[in-house]
Amino acid sequence: MNFEKLWVIASDVYRKTVKSPSFLIGVFMPFIVVLIGFLIGAIMNRGQETTTIGIYSDQPVLAKALAQQKFPDLKLKQVDSVKEAQKQLQAEKLDHYLVLTQKEGKLTSTVYGEKVPGNTTMANLQQGLNGLQTSLKAGEYKLTPDQVAELMQPAKLEGKEISFTDDGKVKTSKDSSGVKFALSYAACIFTFFLVLTYASLIAQEIAGEKGMRIMEVILSSTNAKTHFYGKLLGVILAALTQLVATGLLVGIAVFIMRDNDSLNEMLDNLHFTGIEPSFIVLLILFILAGSLFYAVLAALCGSLVNRAEDAPKAIMPVTYLMMAGYMLGLVVAANDPSNFIVMICSYIPFFSMILMPIVLANGTAGLMGASISLVILVLSTLVLAAFSARMYRVNVLVYNQKGIWASLRQSLTMLRKDV
């Protein structure tokens, strides 16, 4: 293989790819999605009106105590009678009214209205009533405010991971499975979009070159193998750039928003310290090897058609395979990572790049299992690339009008005869 020509082809593919709109969309997509989510949240919050609820009790002290409690988007107002409450409800001054009674030290209440209040309102009311009942009981038992506060203190529950050092000692760390799971989930989505973007790009590029007869000129300058590997290298470099660019942008975004309370709260809850570097390395390797595997498949499929417009049709089997892995990952593996099918598929190259990170994050598979899966994926990619490079040499000069399968059959026949 001529490495100088390989680099000329790779850098040309790289230049065209990073300048393409789909690359820029790919880099900014995570931010666009977060921004859209943020905007939708903001719009929904803005649209939320305050609910007003009238509180009536035959013991006005209770009604007053409950009405004094504060809740977001909820206004509680004491009313003198049920009749008065109904009048105000009819006049639309109240959305609902609540009748509160106390029998043998227990609070009972019913909310009335044209509609039953929403879940959030009901939860807030429940919380308010619980607090009131606790105060009443505290008074009954003659408890001091400190004692009440102590009583209200919830029990603490924390998860910790343990591992054993070489000398058999136990090493503990904070529970990081949530973060690992989130990362593997993000990797699953990222790989899916990465593959969809680059599979389509590489297939269109090759089909286009074939259709425009550029391929003949290129193959008169270099051999098919160099061209094939050059294309793949260019695509992988572009994918790496996208990975780094996205990482950098996330870093910049976190830096800019470093004083944001909700972000800091979220970061505090994420225990990154418990994540082994090997997990991150495996995650990145799975993303890269997986993208390369599918890029090889897409290049092979792209070389079977004669026009760039036919490329999406040609890579449909690749898209379906990827989609199957994605669904298995997001639906089955996310809910049940120890599922038998998920376990088997996490070693099959078509799906392992999606499933293994999730299975690994959950702890169903260990480092050894993940490494075996990665080795299988890398070896399969190498075998597939070697086979595809041979097929490619024949495919790119076959202009079969009868469709992809007819082209594939013709190419295989020609390959056997070593045309």
């Binding site: 425009m212 007869r213 193959l219």
Partner: protein
């Protein structure tokens, strides 16, 4: 020097090229002519190493042509292949670098060729914004940018207007002066006649004619007569050795089976004295092409 020895290519039962042999010396232009589907493109693909021959070999300076010679070859395909969204410079730079040329050299050569071929456009114009003729010139630049020793041009004149065809023709003749071996295919026999030193005609993959253009023409003899006389078509047709007569205005175009039949026709036409035209000529290449293409049995 390029030597093609007993080259053959089969696709299953189809014999696309059979026992084809020719040579092109340095500074020589060879025309490969034949009808559509006669095996010209398959021959070119074998010369380029894109296809392995079923039999025979292609030698460059007595060495089997392969990877090592790729940088020496310049190839212009029949169907033009350029990236429409790229600029002229990006396009030429890519192909130049693929042929092992340094960017600085490519830039210099690009300026020369843009000027020499009178490309209407700037270096940073996108290919899709150029006219068909100018796109074809850019394609030729990508073919010649690395100063190839072997130039293979598949239908270089197709789609060009007479002015651009002349520019292209001059560029090809200039390659001969530089000492390159040039092989090109064309359906335009006038172009072939004007610029080829030698030609090879193939039919159904087989070589039916080969040699210097004038030698080929002479080998058919002077069997064409242009005649303007009082003789009618029927009278001319009755002369022994006359194969066909066509009326061309006031003149008759007569095809003979043997040049010697011309004497009898001349004597008959001039029996009453002066006639305005009697011209006995060799066949044009186009006529030879049509004649050979129409033949059922090969030579």
């Amino acid at each position: 020097m390029l030597s093609v020895e007993h080259l053959a290519k089969n696709f299953g039962t189809l014999k696309a090229v059979q026992n084809l042999s020719f040579e092109i010396k340095d500074g020589e232009i060879l025309g490969l002519v034949g009808q559509n589907g006669s095996g010209k493109t398959t021959t070119f693909r074998m010369l380029l190493g894109l296809m392995q021959p079923t039999a025979g070999k292609v030698l460059w300076n007595c060495e089997k042509i392969g990877e090592k010679q790729k940088d020496l070859i310049g190839y212009l395909p029949e169907e033009r292949g350029l990236y429409p969204k790229e600029t002229i410079e990006q396009q030429v730079m890519y192909f130049g670098k693929l042929r092992g040329k340094a960017p600085r050299e490519i830039k210099e050569k690009l300026d020369y060729w843009m000027d020499h071929l009178q490309v209407k456009g700037k270096k940073n114009d996108r290919i899709k914004s150029l006219s068909k003729g100018n796109q074809q010139k850019v394609q030729l630049i990508t073919t010649l940018i690395h100063e190839p020793k072997l130039v293979i041009l598949d239908e270089p004149f197709s789609g060009l207007d007479p002015v651009n065809a002349q520019i292209m023709q001059d560029a090809i003749i200039a390659l001969r002066k530089q000492g390159s071996c040039v092989i090109f295919s064309s359906h335009n026999m006038a172009n072939v006649e004007q610029i080829c030193d030698r030609l090879v005609m193939i039919k159904d993959g087989r070589q039916v004619l080969a040699g210097k253009v004038q030698d080929i023409k002479d080998s058919f003899g002077k069997i064409k007569v242009f005649l303007e006389s009082p003789l009618t078509t029927a009278e001319v047709q009755a002369v022994p050795g006359v194969v066909a007569v066509k009326e061309r205005g006031r003149r008759l175009e007569v095809t003979l089976s043997d040049p010697a039949a011309g004497r009898e026709l001349f004597e008959l036409a001039t029996k009453d004295g002066y006639i305005p035209t009697f011209s006995q000529e060799t066949l044009t290449l186009e006529e030879i092409f049509k004649l050979k293409a129409g033949e059922k049995d090969e030579l």
